[in-house]
Amino acid sequence: MDSGWARRFGLAILVHLLLLAAWHLFVVLGEVPKFVMPTPKATLESLFSGNYRWMENIWVTGVEIFGGYFLAVGVGVTLALFFSWSRLLDQLFMPLLVSLNMVPKVALGPLIIVWFSYGIFPNTLIAFSIAFFPIVLTTARGLREVEPDLLDLVRSIRGSRWQIFTKIQLPGALPYIFSGMKVAAVLAVAGAIVGEFLGSEKGLGYLMLQVQVTLDTAAMFMAVILITLLGVILYGLVLGLERLLVVRDARVQ
């Protein structure tokens, strides 16, 4: 079991290193101009040269991603709880949410910027709006999935609705909540970057647009890698939390 894990981890590292090597060979052997594609080495060097304000830009994009994401988790789970408590709320708003889910959230970007101007807040909002839907939909579904016979069992000894909720419904919904959170983690990253593309004065997405005009592809590559790393950190946190809270067999694959 343990050696299997080490093997899988080793293979994962290996395939990443192979990709780096392929990238390097492609650029060097293909004599690709550096404004088209930099080598991995040149990309890494951009981290220590020039005036890119990496730390500040990472911080801004990070705040947008994590802020939008945790807002989405908080609001999404809370709304789903309300839906599970009130049939009327569920019947009123669930169809609305399903329609709104169809709206391409990215298309709302320009509007959000009209309403809230540039900056961290509107970009956080875009990340939120795109990450929110999978969370509320999967949580609501998870809260609904209770075996009727299990409810009978609890009711036969006069268990309260609150007991059903805390002992059966909520822990039962946890795997669903996490599956929504995993999808949302990917979306939140995309949302924040799209926001920065549409209008901002800081952040990794903003930086990419800045250096694009000078064909500084090394910095652009570095920015993409850093954005990806932010996403990986978020995803890793969610996976870690899931491992902590959800029993293996109950996890939704």
Binding site: L153, K167, A250
Partner: protein, 257 residues
Amino acid sequence: MPASSEPFIRIEGLRKTYRTRGEDFLAVSDVTLSIEAGELVSLVGPSGCGKTTLLKILAGLHPYDQGTVLIGNPAHPFDPARDIGMVFQQALLLKWRRIIDNVLLPAEILGLPMKAARERARALLDLVGLTGFEDKYPYELSGGMQQRAAIARSLVHDPKLLLMDEPFGALDALTREKMNIELLRIWRESGKTIVFVTHGVQEAVFLGTQVAVLTAGPARMADHFEIDLPHPRTLDVKTEPRFGEYARRIYRLLGME
């Protein structure tokens, strides 16, 4: 049978209809049964005969339209808020809880003292043959073992009445026979009154001190009778002529001769 003038469960002229889309649908009717404390009564019949409905009425989960259902007598007082244990076709264990914590669920819901309940849960896991599996998760157990855990759970709050709805219906034939023998042992050792719903005629006769035969279309109780086969029963009982006669009698009532 304990000496008591009144039966533990008395059902008389029970009838229930559901109303769906303006039409009345007969769910159960003509049920008249007397069950003594400590009996194991089989309810046997096809789908739609009302056996599950009857079980849920006994559990206090469904209202009924006509008739009487009385549970408890002076020797065995019955508290409808806590004296019911239930087992279903699916074990319905909570995947995120260890077996011992699954067994403890009813005790938690009833707010029983947990230290004593935990000891009792361990004793019950011993009783159902799951010693050493306390800290496993449900997915680590086979279907039969999960159902054993479900039986332990149904007993943890020491209910007077155990209601079982086709508890072995999802198991393979061999495991099912094994569980039947196990159930008889658990029943003898725990002394509970059990109402056992099944599709299986053989199972009904093998387990029951009494069998009630229910038919569908319309849903009604066709007959009920005692099974006069000695306890403790082993599989040998199935080869006795009387066993076959009881089974034939049930098949006849079900129109399957």
